[in-house]
């Protein structure tokens, strides 16, 4: 809501929804990961973090081609919700992962949201007519049909 109001576009809107982004679409996550220089290892059920410790996951993310490095676990939600959460250890840069995905996985989550929103919009017959990164780091997508 505030994001839209900042642009002064709220007056032309008839309906504004605020959404908490959840990771449901593994395909969209794979596309986003590839764009950031990562790869999803489907079906890898543990992920490596600090030292040689390992966590449980459904799939894992790693820097492309970096076998044996720190990884991000794509973990099935345990709260009854659909989709996944991300588990990792960003300590001391997380073995290069922080540079790729951002602190708190912000770049990865934002990129995923852009990808999944674009796909959903295209399924509904919309096309992307504008994509800008604002000074505050927020990404604005303009869709039209």
């Amino acid at each position: 809501m505030d994001s839209l109001r900042q642009k002064g576009t709220v007056e032309t809107m008839s309906h504004i929804a605020k959404i908490e982004i959840e990771i449901h679409d593994l395909s969209a996550l794979k596309t986003t990961a590839a764009a950031l220089g990562l790869e999803v290892i489907e079906g890898q059920t543990t992920f490596k973090y600090y030292g040689a410790q390992r966590g449980i996951c459904a799939h894992a993310l790693r820097i492309k081609g970096q076998v044996g490095g720190n990884e991000i676990g794509i973990v099935g939600r345990t709260d009854g919700g659909r989709g996944f959460t991300l588990a990792w250890d960003p300590y001391a840069g997380g073995g290069g992962l922080v540079e790729k995905v951002g602190a708190n996985c912000t770049k990865l989550k934002q990129g995923y949201a852009v990808e999944v929103a674009t796909r959903a919009a295209q399924r509904s017959g919309f096309r992307v007519v504008g994509r800008t990164v604002r000074q505050d780091g927020k990404v604005e997508l303009k869709l039209q049909r």
């Binding site: 576009t9 032309t12 008839s14 929103a117 919309f126 780091g137």
Partner: protein, 62 residues
């Protein structure tokens, strides 16, 4: 008339979806699939544009 959607995605795991040029109840239908794909809708606010159409519909019996 063409339909326009603006989506703003922040870096904290949130997004705002707004729809223009579609007044009344139909505007929610336009963004439903996009909202569902993105995650959980935590708030849904209708602006004066929405109610403007609702009023028109009531007056014309639509």
């Amino acid at each position: 008339m063409s339909q326009i959607i603006t989506i703003v995605i922040d870096q904290d795991g949130g997004a705002s979806v707004g729809v223009g040029c579609v007044k009344g109840k139909k505007c929610a239908e336009v963004t439903r699939e996009i909202e569902k794909a993105l995650g959980k809708t935590t708030s849904d606010q209708k602006t004066s544009e929405y109610f403007e159409k609702e009023k028109q519909d009531a007056q014309t019996g639509h």
